[in-house]
């Protein structure tokens, strides 16, 4: 049985952790003006820097424990859709669920605009052996497997548009993982089908070597 004095300190330190000064500031700033759609530049910058801890200093992506994707140059609509999917658990990621559910609409607007305007060089590092095959699949698809050309939705330069993500400069191992695990991670609420259903048959039909070829190809596009 811990002595009384020690127990009181344990409560104080955990309370102190829960109500840190930054949280007090956040409460202060959550005034009616902020709720209506204003987010201060300082707040937005601080949040951007927080995103960049994992996603890279110019959101170019990062090889963390998991490959953490490039956000730079992403269409704002795609980013908003994904954040919503994380929050509604239609897309599984515990870390991104936590990130997403504290973001106000105004903050999401500010962040997605910032990310869209960043333009760092691709992280690189993918094996270069099958890039030509990847380019062929990207531009022509795999007709005998009913796989349409990626370019038809993602654009000829893989820059994406609206709800279709930019693939240019995306991390090789991120694209490989996502295509390989599409069904396990996306569209996880069958009662709420979403646009990820479009990619499901494609991800399913592509073989592993094809996935790796396409992933390597797009990872070098600028």
């Amino acid at each position: 049985m811990t002595p009384k004095r020690q127990r009181r300190w344990a409560f104080r330190s955990s309370a102190g952790a829960a109500i840190g000064p930054a949280a007090v500031l956040a409460l202060f700033l959550a005034s009616p003006a902020a709720a209506q759609g204003n987010v201060s530049k300082a707040e937005a910058d601080a949040k951007l820097r927080y995103c960049e801890v994992c996603h890279g200093v110019s959101a170019q992506g990062f090889h963390g424990y998991y490959p953490i994707p490039r956000l730079a140059g992403q269409p704002t609509e795609y980013l908003k859709n994904q954040l919503q999917a994380f929050v509604e658990r239609r897309r599984t990621s515990n870390i991104m669920f936590n990130v997403g559910h504290v973001l106000s609409p105004a903050m999401i607007d500010a962040l997605t605009t910032d990310f869209n305007q960043l333009d760092p060089k691709p992280l690189g590092g993918a094996p270069k052996g099958n890039i030509d095959e990847g380019k062929k699949i990207f531009e022509e698809g795999v007709p005998q497997a009913n796989v349409p050309a990626c370019a038809s939705c993602h654009g000829p330069a893989a820059k994406g548009n609206g709800p279709f993500p930019r693939l240019a400069g995306q991390l090789y191992d991120y694209v490989t993982n996502k295509l390989t695990n599409w069904e396990k991670e996306r569209g996880q609420n069958p009662a709420q089908p979403d646009i990820s259903a479009v990619m499901q048959p494609i991800a399913h039909s592509l073989t592993q070597p094809q996935i790796k070829a396409v992933a390597a190809y797009v990872s070098y596009l600028e």
């Binding site: 330190s13 955990s14 102190g16 840190g20 927080y50 801890v53 963390g64 424990y65 870390i95």
Partner: protein, 248 residues
């Protein structure tokens, strides 16, 4: 053409030369041209064999024992005058980067500067592979009541106050990956010191920015009690027997 004989080189020199394979070449070289070529071969062979020589297992063992004098008999870390970190199970790429940072004074530590700048690349490979294979239990000793809060910060981050989840980069069991260090079982006071003093110790050459910049905003955002909580949590983590590292 005759080979070098005891009239051209002294007895001691002859014996010394014969100790090395390249030296025998020199002795038998014969003509002056051969002698000059032999000198060149001897010097080059000496340089190359010096690199290979220190991966002889006796030298590596001696160096490992030397590291363990401070870092603990199984590299589990040690509470010396300063907390000396755990190296057991550490990512080889991370240790290599830190050794280079010590040498280049991007990371300030006089003791480790002296240790690091005498290590060859071959020795560094041998050492880091050895440390990665060790898996002693954590030293422990952190305040237990902080561990639950620390786990929450580690796994979920604190998005309301812009603190990223440590697990995103360090892994769900804090085993690290590539250049990202293992934190599992790291010493509690070492973690406190490192996070509290990040900018004073790391990334010390502004003209040579390094990976230390990634952690700088995180260390900045965490307050003292959050640092204590996270440090306490990771200091308790251990890896299952036989898998000290998750290989990425």
């Amino acid at each position: 053409m005759c080979s070098l004989n005891s009239r051209q080189i002294g007895r001691t020199t002859r014996r010394a030369l014969l100790a090395f394979p390249a030296g025998r070449v020199l002795i038998n070289a014969g003509s002056r041209v051969g002698f000059a070529a032999g000198i060149l071969a001897f010097v080059l062979a000496g340089a190359v064999s010096a690199q290979h020589r220190i991966t002889g297992s006796g030298d590596v063992q001696a160096k490992i024992s030397y590291c363990k004098d401070c870092h603990g008999v199984s590299a589990q870390g040690f509470n010396g005058y300063y907390p000396i970190p755990r190296l057991a199970g550490q990512q080889p790429e991370y240790i290599e980067n830190q050794l280079r940072a010590f040498i280049e004074h991007r990371r300030t530590n006089n003791i480790m500067f002296n240790v690091a700048h005498s290590l060859s690349p071959a020795m560094i490979n041998a050492l880091t592979a050895h440390f990665a294979s060790l898996n002693p239990p954590p030293i422990g000793g952190a305040p237990r009541q902080l561990v639950a809060t620390g786990r929450k910060i580690f796994e979920d981050g604190m998005p309301e106050v812009n603190i990223a989840a440590c697990a995103a980069c360090h892994g769900p069991e804090a085993t690290g990956s590539g250049q990202i260090p293992r934190l599992a079982g790291q010493l509690y006071p070492y973690m406190l010191k490192t996070l509290n003093n990040w900018d004073k110790e790391r990334g010390r050459n502004p003209t040579v920015p390094d990976a230390a910049a990634i952690m700088s905003p995180v260390a900045h955002s965490l307050n003292r009690s959050q640092i204590e909580a996270v440090a306490a949590f990771v200091s308790t983590l251990r890896s299952p027997r036989g898998t000290p590292n998750t290989v990425q």
